[in-house]
């Protein structure tokens, strides 16, 4: 176990390094550079050269890479071209709303998805299962923006129960829970379907297994058999899926944030792209990449716990 963990962590470090290199290489490959972007609508070669010199962009590639990665190691993500503020403050500002949405979604997602999956598996082939299975399949087929627009139209505009967007609430969304209802519903819609279907499939296998038969045969109560003996076997594929969902949520779900005008990381990213603010884009890409690596290590650890036999690739 310990050596497995060490190998997994080493792999994670290597993956993060690869992400950093890739982000740098992709930015290098873009036509033009930050100086061209900054020079504005009337690019004057002399002005571009001056900006290049002042930003150190005229130095060789490997030196800039060293500078940038050196900064990353010290937690310095660089400075925005548009405002001159450190990139870290952009991320700190946008992270609050994104984290809030992600947390709320996950807190609702896990019990709801698992519960629906177990419910469907218990009544396999019966009306309850057919209802859960067909509704989840149908809901999964609706893209976020379509569902978002539909919900806004019905609940905000027609019925007037909830605010249509988070405009005017700033980053302190927790003070305005009503504004969170619709975005969280949209974020929940597809992950709930995936999770419920994965748990259902895993539970059907687990409930038909000889070890569950043995537990039932020896008088262990039904609910206990389901949740403590069958479910641990059913959730392994689901944990990997949950890590993917959390990664998706934390990397700022651009469509949802844009639709509901939530000032999260997705919005920061869109604005940075619009302003060609390369350091901010780079910084966000590195943070998202590192987040993906960390979450997948976490998921592998959980999977390792629930399926101690399988060697999770490391």
């Amino acid at each position: 176990m310990r050596s497995w963990l060490a190998r997994r962590l080493l792999l994670g470090i290597a993956q993060t390094a690869a992400v950093v290199l890739l982000v740098f290489a992709l930015t290098e490959a873009l036509p033009g550079d930050a100086a061209v972007a900054l020079a504005g609508d009337q690019p004057d070669p002399e002005r571009i050269a001056a900006i290049r010199e002042s930003m150190g962009l005229d130095r060789p590639v490997h030196q800039r890479l060293l500078d940038w990665t050196g900064g990353l190691l010290h937690g310095d993500l660089g400075t925005s071209l548009a405002s001159g503020r450190p990139v870290a403050t952009y991320i700190a500002d946008g992270f609050g709303p994104t984290l809030l949405l992600a947390t709320l979604t996950m807190v609702l997602l896990v019990p709801l998805g698992t519960g629906l999956g177990v419910l469907a598996a218990r009544h396999e082939g019966k009306p309850a299962d057919r209802l859960v299975s067909s509704v989840t399949l149908g809901l999964y087929a609706v893209p976020e923006f379509a569902l978002g627009v539909l919900l806004i139209t019905v609940f905000a505009i027609r019925l007037g129960w909830l605010p249509p967007t988070a405009v005017g609430y700033g980053t302190d969304l927790l003070a305005h829970p009503a504004a969170l209802v619709l975005p969280v519903l949209v974020l929940l819609s597809r992950p709930v379907c995936t999770l419920a279907r994965l748990v259902r499939a895993g539970m059907i296998d687990a409930l038909a297994s000889p070890y569950v038969a043995q537990a039932r045969r020896y008088g262990v109560p039904g609910a206990r058999v389901r949740y403590t003996h069958a479910l641990p076997n059913a959730v392994t594929p689901a944990t990997q899926q949950l890590a993917r969902t959390l990664d998706w949520l934390l990397s700022g779900v651009i469509v949802v944030e844009a639709l509901f005008v939530i000032p999260g990381l997705g919005t920061v990213l869109i604005n940075a792209v619009a302003e060609r603010d390369l350091p901010v884009v780079q910084g966000l890409a590195v943070v998202f990449g590192a987040l993906t690596v960390v979450l997948n290590i976490g998921a592998d650890l959980v999977a390792h716990r629930f399926a101690p036999r399988t060697e999770v690739a490391a």
Binding site: Y211, A213, Q214, Y218, H229, P232, P308, R309
Partner: protein
């Protein structure tokens, strides 16, 4: 057929379970028909018969469990909730995601509900420890924290037995508890179950292992195709069988015991070959590892064309690893493999189609080696399509011919694997390997899970194959010296070392290594069965 009149064993022992006129029908076909069974406290009742004879269905009826969609008639009386079950593969009855202690604690918890809340956990824990001790599992505190895959097969079986003991079972149904075990392990299992019966628990033993039945059973019921053909005290059935089928079962079993003058070569050609044929597969000195542990170290080995080599050893001796090295399934070794003098890549992935076809492997667990969703015939035919490039129709025809040659009907093999018995699947697996037209056929314990009649049948087929196909060589991996006796040569492995190798007769009659002698001593059965 009438149990009551014939029961001479302790009729005073309490009758704890009873089956009367049980008939179980699936899709209109009776898998069990008119079975009567009486189970008394502290005695061992054995149900014997070949695979598919209805033993397991009868045993599970005592637990009130029947196959899905079965129509059941007859009367089953058993202590409600107090019947334990030790399945054939005890590992499957243990939850892979939970520690051993989880289910044991849950079983104990159902028994301590009447106690005050504070005492429940402690009492439950004590009960769990006591049951583990009864099942002969020492160091139980540490064991409770292990996962099933961290236990040996024997430990897994004892844990499953401990579950039944913890339950306070009056009857324990044990399904093939000794299948695939070596002689020493079998001995321990027999002792363990004897101790269980001594506790006053009625044991129902489902087995085709007649040695174990001789050693354990008080009463024997012989089943054939779902019907009881004979029943009575164990000693009487063994010494004076009344039904021809019983006699056949007993005869097949003792035929395997005859180790003298019955090698496959002796069948094939009376004179030893004057010119020894060229080796088809040779391996240089070979050291195999699992991770950092060296598990096998053997000097040079050569397998000649038309020859059969038996690799013998206890479980864990490295015999399967050797077979897997030859077949390309285990590549963490440093041996040089030569097929017809040309190097054979270590890994399956690097072998070309002809090399893949040349070395074929028949696994111990035939059921696990088939895809459960496709008819057996299709899967068998696929080998010829993949490895010999035959057209599907041609391959299917050849597959059907080979399967029929092995005694399977076309009807049977068009079904999916779950409708075939273990013996039938093992024959299908053999057919699948043969369809590749292999030069070397490796059988890894292919007959160990089978009843004597079926085992005898498969070994006869193998002998016939060696006779008919002159270019075929055979590697038999087995822990059973009776099976090994059918080969030309024997190699004996112990703890990863090759301790002895030579012609079968020499090894069996004048073993040079003490380990071989010890193995021989245990496997040779007593000249006559146990007499009361």
């Amino acid at each position: 057929m009438n149990t009551a009149t014939e029961t001479e064993t302790d009729t005073h022992a309490e009758l704890v379970a009873e089956i009367e006129g049980l008939r179980v029908e699936i899709d209109g076909r009776a898998v069990v028909d008119g079975v009567h069974l009486r189970v008394r406290a502290g005695t061992v009742t054995a149900l014997i018969g070949s695979s598919g004879s209805g033993k397991t269905t009868t045993g599970l009826a005592l637990l009130g469990e029947y196959p899905a969609g079965a129509r059941v008639t007859g009367r089953v009386r058993a202590p409600d909730g107090l019947v334990g079950y030790v399945p054939q593969h005890p590992g499957a009855a243990l939850n892979p995601a939970r520690r051993i202690g989880a289910l044991l604690r849950d079983i104990a918890r159902t028994q301590v509900r009447h106690l005050p809340r504070r005492e429940r956990a402690r009492t439950a824990h004590e009960r769990v420890l006591r049951s583990l001790a009864l099942a002969q599992l020492p160091d139980s505190e540490a064991l409770l924290r292990r996962y099933p895959h961290q236990l040996s097969g024997g430990q897994q079986q004892r844990v499953v037995l401990a579950q039944a003991l913890l339950l306070g079972a009056r009857v324990i149904v044990a399904d093939e508890p000794t299948t695939g075990q070596d002689a020493l392990t079998k001995q321990r299992i027999v002792e363990r179950f004897t101790a269980v019966a001594r506790e006053g628990i009625a044991l129902v033993l489902l087995s085709h292992d007649l040695d174990v039945v001789h050693a354990l059973a008080d009463e024997v019921l012989v089943l054939r195709a779902g019907r009881v053909v004979e029943s009575g005290p164990a000693a009487r059935v063994a010494s004076a069988p009344r039904h021809p089928w019983t006699a056949e079962l007993l005869a097949a079993d003792s035929a395997l015991g005859r180790t003298e003058s019955h090698t496959m070569q002796a069948d094939a050609e009376p004179e030893p070959h004057p010119h020894r044929p060229a080796p088809v597969l040779t391996s240089g000195p070979l050291t195999a590892r699992h991770g950092r542990t060296t598990v096998l170290r053997v000097p040079e080995l050569a397998l000649r064309t038309g020859e059969s080599l038996a690799v013998v050893g206890r479980s864990g001796s490295g015999k399967t690893t050797l077979a897997r090295c030859l077949a390309g399934l285990h590549r963490d070794h440093d041996g040089l493999l030569l097929l017809d003098g040309t190097p054979l890549p270590r890994s399956l992935r690097d072998r070309d189609r002809d090399q893949l076809a040349a070395v074929q492997y028949v696994f111990q667990d035939a059921r696990a080696a088939f895809d459960e969703h496709r008819p057996v015939l299709d899967q068998v035919a696929r080998t010829a399509v993949r490895l010999r490039g035959l057209a599907p129709a041609e391959a299917a025809a050849e597959a059907l011919a080979t399967l029929t040659g092995l005694g399977l009907t076309g009807d049977t093999v068009r079904r999916r694997p779950d409708r075939l018995s273990g013996g039938e699947l093992q024959r299908a697996a053999l057919a699948r390997a043969l369809l590749a037209r292999p030069r070397v056929l490796i059988c890894d314990e292919s007959t160990s899970g089978l009843d004597p009649v079926t085992r005898r049948g498969i070994l006869d087929r193998l002998a016939a194959l060696l006779r008919d196909r002159h270019d075929l060589s055979l590697v038999l991996i087995t822990h059973d010296l009776d099976t090994a006796a059918l080969a030309d040569r024997i190699a004996v492995l112990d703890a990863g070392e090759l301790v002895e190798e030579g012609p079968t007769r020499t090894v069996l009659e004048t073993p040079r290594h003490p380990f071989t002698a010890a193995l021989l001593g245990r496997t040779r059965r007593a000249p006559s069965g146990r007499t009361a």
